[in-house]
Symmetry: C2
């Protein structure tokens, strides 16, 4: 069961070949077996999950996610489960309503399995969650629990969020597909604000088709559920101004380029734009001001309850963020956002690293986000999928970056890349389930 | 006491000539006298307000709002007062934290006096609040309670919110100053989302200097507390493509132009841009999709608890809002936002009507918002201040619209207009209080 993608499970449930209860029980067994070492969950009520599944099995109203369990990062509001944003400030907090993404998933049939671990407010050091491929390593973050739970088959898909690199990096570290839509595509009502001009809902799953289906649900159809691969024009972007790569990642990227080219993709090298070296600084200028504003209440009235690392992060930002620095940052960000359109003149997507390398050992940090934050600053859609393993035997993902608003094109290209790397062009895994709508 | 502006009160408190308790008690007396007819408050705890004031009077830590009472529209989260968003769905809801604007106001010394009436989620018909100038008329909305409370001296200033015309119109109807900053200037964390790309915090007070000071607090200093009038270049914009004006409003605008010109302002006529007639349609395309997404949970799971008019509004939007219509609306909005910069080539601000005329009789609606929503769609800063009274004896405001991000320039121009219409150029009312910061 743990090998099923969400779409496969949805397909079998829709066809009457599998019950939601069976799928949920299978997830719960997997969790029971692995949670002691992985620690992906902040809240999980097995009886409640089984009750939801039984209700789904008896219901004639069937949406595209019918009966399939979904995990929710704990920075996203759920009206029937505690939502603490990873912080003791909000311990036991019960939101009055579901976030938009949760309500839409529920209404299309998803079983809300539980809440997954996040670092405090999406900041701070790695939490209790371990990398499912090696418990001595971080799973990445801040969507730590979502990435780890999907990565070890506890749940077929999950919601995360990305402000800097909180979806792409943990997905790469845990060997799964992670997708951050274009900024603004998915409504963020009910997601705890970290930096309003950067925050996006993120999707984590084990196939590109899965994140495509989930994207269509959470954007109300703004992103079509793309499942057909299309041979893309790929720009292999030189990201060296952002920093250097682990040799294993560099080798895997080169090998990936060869395989994609053999598979029929048009690939050409894209030089780094002159402005690239300044992107991290621009991101910092925007991020620091926005997060300081968004957490006015917590900073002013609950400062003593932050984890020490979180408090230090806020204090660094408070010292450096000024109205002037933010105006400058915003102006430069808008310029960079407009300017980056030219990167896509000759290609559908850019191929870039998802991270420096494998998940680092230890839990002081969730890993280096230098290959993530710049795309968040540019508000572009991006997607990671596994391309191999590094020296420590841990997964390494590639990253595809799409043009602003061209999420469907990014997903089609990602379907191609996924199929090509799997040595096949189109499998039944990519076929959407036949969806029955009750009259 | 009811004639004091917030700045005057702050000044006298800072000088030790008035206590916060005296100011708060004066507000409470005024509320006691008028609340039965005006009905501006959703939540008010007199004992709690006096306790806050006494604490302020004993405190050595003094911010720029020290001891001055402030009212909060009930779509804005307060951790110590119920926050129901005007809806029985959220009756008795207690947020876990303060909205950013509330936390910033509190931390600079404001006394949070209570929560003011809003229409349900900022939609729907006029609520229980009456126009303080004539209880048979609407106060406007959706910031109904904030505008009415400030309009009859129950409190010197208040927070409102504007998505379509929810600050400028009620402020005009209630004879006060209303100000909506440039979209994005003030952080909206903790304000119930209505339409994410349009929502802004709004400020209501009895002087331009007051909203200027409050703006500097809620934007963390991004807008300077402007108090000095500056002789502006004013463009008198032809808004006839948006609809026609009540004759009294038209006459008052013409008279205002004469007085401002005599006062030294450079005024020239600005023809309507060719695109103006399409602005309301663009606004509708953006608004309808965004509000449908933002209220996914309430629409899907609490539909029966909406007021009938609110439910009908959602159902109209659900029928007409599609991903395609939103993409078209967003593209056209971005084009209009970029294009409107040329309106300000030869002027600092535009002079336009704030509303068709006086507050209409009855409570079926909060009045016509045709002269408001277009500026919200363009994300421009705007400000209303009283220019006279109409045939029914009710106030009529003018509206000044500033260039994107040029809030300080708008406030300087508004100081000039206010002084000019008052027959004076600069009074002590415009002088900021000397602010003592404790060591």
């Amino acid at each position: 069961m743990k090998e099923l993608t969400a779409l496969e499970a949805a397909h079998l449930i829709a066809a009457g070949q599998l019950t939601s209860e069976t799928v949920v029980r299978s997830c719960l067994e997997r969790i029971k077996a692995l949670e002691a070492s992985v620690q992906a969950w902040e809240h999980l009520d097995a009886d409640e999950a089984i009750a939801q599944a039984r209700l789904a099995d008896r219901s004639n109203i069937r949406g595209p996610l019918h009966g399939v369990p979904l995990a929710i990062k704990d920075v996203i509001d759920t009206m029937d489960m505690p939502t603490a944003y990873g912080s003791r400030i909000y311990r036991g907090h019960r939101p009055a309503s579901d976030a938009t993404c949760v309500a839409l998933a529920r209404a299309t049939g998803a079983i809300i399995l539980g809440k997954t671990v996040t670092t405090e407010f999406g900041l701070g050091p790695s939490g209790k969650t371990r990398n499912p491929h090696n418990p001595a390593h971080t799973p990445g973050g801040s969507s730590s629990g979502s990435a780890a739970a999907v990565g070890c088959g506890m749940v077929p898909w999950a919601f995360g969020t990305q402000t800097w690199g909180s979806v792409i990096r943990p997905a790469s570290f845990c060997g799964i597909v992670g997708y951050k839509p274009t900024y603004g595509k998915a409504d963020v009502t009910g997601i705890k604000t970290l930096a309003g001009g950067l925050d996006t809902l993120g999707l984590l799953a084990r196939s590109v088709a899965d994140v495509g289906l989930l994207a269509s649900v959470v954007t109300g159809g703004r992103i079509a559920a793309e499942t057909l691969p299309q041979t893309p024009r790929i720009g292999f972007l030189d990201t060296s101004p952002l920093g250097s790569l682990d040799p294993a990642t560099q080798n895997l990227l080169a090998e990936t380029v060869r395989r994609l080219s053999q598979g029929g993709a048009q690939i050409h090298d894209v030089p780094s734009p002159a402005s690239m070296a300044s992107w991290p600084e621009i991101l910092g200028l925007v991020y620091r001001w926005e997060m300081v504003q968004a957490f006015a209440w917590e900073r002013l009235y609950r400062r003593d309850e932050f984890q020490p690392e979180t408090r230090q992060a806020f204090e660094r930002c408070e010292r450096s963020a000024t109205p002037k620095s933010y105006e400058v940052g915003l102006a430069r960000a808008n310029e960079a956002r407009a300017g980056c359109a030219s990167l896509f003149t000759d290609c559908d997507v850019l191929l870039v690293p998802a991270a420096v390398g494998e998940a680092p050992e230890g839990f002081e940090s969730t890993g280096d986000a230098r290959f993530n934050g710049v795309w968040s600053m540019l508000q572009l859609p991006c997607l990671t999928l596994p391309m191999g393993r590094g020296g420590a035997g841990l997964p390494i993902g590639l990253q595809l970056v799409g043009s602003r608003g061209e999420d469907a094109r990014l997903l089609r290209a990602a379907c191609f890349v996924e199929a090509c790397l799997a040595g096949t062009r189109l499998t039944s895994k990519s076929t959407p389930p036949s969806i029955r709508h009750s009259p």
